[in-house]
């Protein structure tokens, strides 16, 4: 696409030229690839795949003995953590000598629409935890939960505290009613039984929901800023990779999504201590292992207050938090986050080896 709307050139020719140039670059960038670190699938459980990232030959001495298992959100793909060499949390952790494992939940099909949070937490996450533990002599591991995956990680760690040596949460909501949580307001009146009866929810529906939180900025201004900003080809390719991730959302198992909305968004069950997984109450007070809580201060999806609430609920006396001035997506790819987050995780683990 190299044309601009008729009449626009007459308004401001230079802007029109910039837009035209960037559109041409965007066209060239269509074939960019995502993902950069070598990994291999070591375990499968339904649609869930457990990956092991291959250690780097040039890695530093390991900061700790335990491997790190990354539990990503159900609503997005985990490759954002390893998007490209200079934007890869995974790559930085491998360089620091950590053994890194990652859970990819895959795409649930219609036969799996009744999969609920117990299936995900006790079934799939639990099986992955046990698999990694067995591969490392049975010792407890370090667990990194990202966004919604952090909620699953908190639930698992609270129910099985002996499996988890140290817990790290990244942009993880805990108090779903704290701060300006637009999502929580919008879904408060949702009939979750009806939602579950509808079958799996396409990823596009959730994307549309996220875009509707700030529609003009996320569907217009973001592009205008790129189109008029004279980006070079590399910046355009970075942008396209990120766009691909944002709009590449897996479908959601109906029962699990409905349960997540009801239990966390509507009932705020982590704070009230009423969350039930497999019939057992999730008591965050059971979390006594060292805890690192990383979150964004300008997050429009998970308000910082929602993350910071964790401190008052856990039983751990070794609680550290790190707030970064960026947005939700910025926590994965912004320059500040790219530098601070891996460094913070590694130094925190080193201090507790």
């Amino acid at each position: 696409m190299s044309e601009f709307p008729a009449g626009a050139a007459g308004v401001i020719p230079e802007l029109a030229l910039r837009v035209s140039e960037t559109l041409a670059r965007l066209h060239q960038a269509r074939g960019v690839t995502v993902g950069c670190s070598a990994k291999r699938a070591i375990f499968r459980c339904g649609k869930t795949t457990l990956y092991e990232y291959l250690p780097l030959a040039t890695a530093a001495p390991p900061p700790c003995r335990e491997p790190l298992l990354v539990c990503f959100a159900l609503v997005n793909r985990p490759y954002v953590l390893d998007l490209q060499p200079d934007r890869s949390l995974v790559r930085r952790l491998l360089e620091a000598g950590l053994r890194v494992y990652l859970i990819d939940w895959g795409d649930p099909d219609d036969a799996e629409r009744r999969m609920d949070l117990t299936d995900y937490v006790e079934g799939h996450l639990g099986a992955c935890v046990q698999h990694v533990r067995q591969a490392h002599g049975g010792a407890a591991l370090n667990l990194l939960g990202v966004c919604q995956g952090g909620v699953l990680a908190l639930c698992y760690a609270a129910l099985h505290p002996d499996d988890i040596a140290r817990l790290i949460t990244l942009t993880t909501p805990v108090d779903f009613h704290a701060g300006e949580n637009l999502l929580a307001r919008w879904v408060r009146g949702l009939d979750t039984a009806l939602l579950a009866a509808c079958g799996n929810v396409p990823g596009e529906v959730l994307n549309a929901l996220f875009l509707a939180l700030m529609p003009l900025r996320l569907t217009q201004e973001k592009y205008v800023r790129l189109l008029t900003g004279r980006p070079d080809q590399r910046a355009v390719e970075d942008f396209v990779r990120m766009e691909r991730w944002i709009f590449d959302s897996p479908p959601q198992a109906a029962a699990a999504l409905a349960e997540f909305v009801r239990m966390f968004y509507q009932q705020n069950a982590l704070v009230r201590g009423t969350a039930l997984i497999g019939g057992r109450r999730v008591d965050l007070g059971q979390l006594r292992q060292p805890l690192l809580n990383l979150y964004a201060l300008d997050d429009h999806i998970v308000p910082p207050e929602a993350c910071a609430a964790l401190q008052d609920l856990v039983g751990s006396r070794d609680y550290t938090e790190c707030a970064i001035r960026t947005g939700h997506i910025g926590m994965y790819v912004s320059r500040a986050a790219r530098e601070v987050i891996p460094r913070r995780i590694v130094s925190w683990l080193q201090e507790r080896r």
Binding site: R30, D191, P202, E204, V205, L227, G285
Partner: protein, 260 residues
């Protein structure tokens, strides 16, 4: 209304081009040659009406049915109640008796909710334009490129502030939930009708397949348990013995906290 963000696939090049088009339309409406500028005085008030109208139209087109509905495969509902009934070649008229009545009621309710949402779009657009006029300062006769971009950024900020102010409100939030509920109810009705058709043709229904799937899952779990092999994910769902709980730290009691 199809947008690059609706339907079953995001179309990036369309999104870029559409954003560029909207951007230039906005610049045109704010340029000295725009119709509103003919009577412009020393502020932007003459532009408020056209700006608001343009933004309202965009909101209507892109957000008319709320995120729940516009992105769903059956978005044809939004085009009109009598339009195609989702992905199946079944219209409301094909549904019989009480079910038909229920579908018409739901479609009528959907129309009401969309009308209520439309009232919010107007309110948001007017508020955005007012904020912009109040903060934009005097119009420049020949703004530089940077000044133009700053003006655009200001407009976006005003528009988002106005949107957020309404979107956080109870009425708007209730509407979002209701839209989702009505959309879901329509989908359930559609499925119910499809099930009756499938049954009439002697084919297994969704519910029957689900029951079979659950049965197979349960049998697999029991088989693995009997074989004494590694516990399957389903088996590992069984509650584990829980260690005695240490006493909770009293709320508000001192706890070391590190913050970096």
């Amino acid at each position: 209304m199809e947008t690059p963000f609706s339907g079953t696939g995001y179309r990036p090049e369309e999104a870029y081009a559409a954003a560029a088009q909207r951007f230039f339309e906005l610049l045109q409406s704010l340029s000295p040659g725009a119709p509103a500028a003919a009577n412009a005085g020393r502020d932007w008030s003459q532009f408020a009406g056209p700006l608001a109208a343009q933004y309202e139209q965009w909101l209507r087109m892109s957000q008319s049915a709320g995120p729940w509905f516009s992105a769903a495969p059956g978005a044809a509902f939004a085009a009109g109640p009598a339009a195609a009934f989702g992905p199946l070649p079944l219209g409301p008229a094909a549904v019989q008796g009480a079910e038909q009545q229920r579908v018409w009621e739901l479609l009528a309710r959907l129309g009401q909710l969309q009308a209520q949402l439309a009232a919010h779009w107007g309110e948001i657009a007017r508020s955005a334009a007012q904020r912009f006029v109040a903060r934009a300062g005097p119009p420049l006769a020949s703004p530089t490129l940077e000044q133009t971009l700053k003006l655009y950024e200001l407009w976006v900020s005003c528009a988002e502030e106005a949107y957020a102010a309404t979107a956080r409100g109870d009425d708007f939030s209730r509407l979002q939930s209701e839209l989702a509920n009505v959309s879901a109810a329509l989908l359930v009705e559609q499925r119910r009708h499809a099930e009756s058709l499938v049954r009439a043709f002697g084919l297994p229904t969704r519910n029957e397949v689900d029951a079979l799937y659950a049965h197979i899952k349960d049998l697999s779990r029991r088989l693995e348990e009997l074989a004494g092999g590694a516990p399957s994910p389903a088996a590992s769902r069984a509650p584990r013995p829980q260690a005695a709980k240490p006493r909770r730290r009293a709320r508000g009691a001192a706890k070391p906290r590190r913050r970096t």
